[in-house]
């Protein structure tokens, strides 16, 4: 069985369980083998999907899980409410002009001196303390945040798990589970593997250069439309390059080379 088909199946179950049963705090394993419940889950998973395969409720589950991994890996969050307020005022102003203004957007600062930024599906955006300190003004900070917002609006992380999926096949597998416990463990395992795939891309492999250049370009347009400088991100990248920070610490290690990004902006 294709593991990503299994991931989507597991995700459909998890999202349907979370979204359709209000107040439910965990997974009711005993119900998964009940044919009526299986139908509910199957129909629910279908109903939750938009036009793109992974629906909003499923995106929320994936996004929350990825956000947990980002925060857990990068030193937790800077709990400075003034900093958080500034980042969120700028971030929400940008997000309001993005292609997905109705998401619940949250912007946080990671307690790490590395220089990087991340986003997770569903509207989570993170900037490291090291990168936050490098931004001289709101325009530069906006340039960074806009780049990450575009990763969310373009569903770049979701495409990692969508790419090799056959949705209907995954959903229909609900009728093939013989052991409710074994089935649930398999679903959870497949779900976790899917999150691992996204995390591996965010932390190690990075998005492909074309995806990053798209985020740079569309993010620049988003910042401009919102009223920030067109050159905010470019200025940050130039500053990094000029100060030779790349040689002393990890700088956008999961992104394409700085000179090429600057040239294209």
């Amino acid at each position: 069985m294709n593991r990503f088909r299994s991931f989507l199946f597991a995700l459909g179950v998890l999202a349907a369980t979370a979204g359709l049963h209000a107040g439910f705090g965990g997974f009711d394993l005993s119900k998964l083998a009940d044919p009526k419940t299986a139908d509910t889950v199957k129909n629910g998973a279908k109903a939750l999907k938009g036009l793109t395969g992974i629906g909003p409720e499923e995106e929320r589950v994936i996004g929350g899980s990825v956000a947990l991994e980002i925060v857990g890996t990068y030193g937790g969050l800077v709990r400075d409410e003034a900093v958080l307020r500034r980042v969120n005022l700028i971030g929400r102003t940008l997000a309001g002009c993005s292609d997905r203004p109705e998401l619940t957007w949250r912007f946080g600062v990671l307690n790490s001196d590395t220089v990087n930024a991340f986003s997770a599906p569903g509207g989570y955006v993170f900037i490291t303390r090291g990168l936050y300190a490098l931004a001289d003004d709101d325009d530069q900070l906006a340039g960074i945040l806009a780049h990450e917002i575009v990763h969310v609006t373009k569903r770049h992380a979701l495409k990692i798990v969508e790419r090799s999926e056959a949705l209907d096949g995954g959903i229909s597998l609900v009728a093939q589970q013989n052991s409710k416990v074994r089935a649930t463990q398999a679903q959870l395992q497949q779900f976790d593997l899917g999150i691992d795939k996204i995390i591996d891309t965010l932390f190690k492999a990075g998005f492909d250069p074309k995806t990053e250049y798209e985020a740079d370009s569309v993010g620049r347009d988003l910042a401009t439309t919102t009223g920030y400088s067109r050159d905010g991100l470019r200025q940050v990248l130039q500053k990094l390059q000029q100060e030779h920070l790349a040689s002393s610490k990890k700088v956008f290690s999961t992104h394409p080379p700085l000179p090429e990004r600057i040239r294209r902006l």
């Binding site: 947990l68 958080l84 619940t104």
Partner: protein
């Protein structure tokens, strides 16, 4: 030589905020409700309320504002409230998130970590990260939409630029 103010203003207003929008082209609404305004100004009177993912005809572009027509109505929309392509999500999918057409973005907020994500945190030993993310969500959601609007006005961003 000093240019007359009206000349400078005319040049500025003639520059499209977003090259993608041009007279004769199309645009889409991307908010659950978008106000069609009588004038290219954020506090202008509302001509009509446009529904989500509505296809619009671009009539004119003036700075950050786009004059559009749809369903017999013509009026102005800030470019940041429009999309070049039809939104990917359908309204049914958004309604499953607890968002309805009668709600604003602000009231649709305050959505905590999904139970399945909480379960993921427990399974992966991410208890501290869970506390951090829940703090983030609580603190972010405590910033009201009115504060964002006030920021936009004072900093001249979005429709207030």
């Amino acid at each position: 030589m000093k240019l007359p103010v009206f000349v400078v203003m005319a040049v500025l207003l003639a520059v499209p905020a977003h090259a993608a929008y041009a007279p004769g082209g199309t645009a889409y609404t991307k908010r659950l409700q978008t106000s069609l305004l009588a004038e290219p100004a954020p506090l202008a009177s509302v001509v009509a309320k446009l529904q989500y993912a509505l296809k619009l005809k671009v009539v004119e572009v003036r700075g950050a504002w786009v004059r559009v027509s749809a369903g017999g109505n013509t009026g102005w929309v800030f470019a940041g409230n429009l999309a070049e392509q039809k939104p990917a999500e359908n309204s049914d999918a958004l309604e499953h998130m607890g968002v309805t057409a009668s709600e604003t973005s602000a009231s649709a907020a305050a959505r905590p970590l999904a139970p399945a994500a909480v379960d993921y945190a427990d399974r992966r030993g991410l208890g501290q990260a869970r506390h951090d993310v829940e703090w983030l969500e609580h603190t972010c959601d405590a910033i009201p939409a009115a504060d964002v609007d006030a920021y936009k006005q004072t900093q001249k961003k979005g429709e207030f630029q």
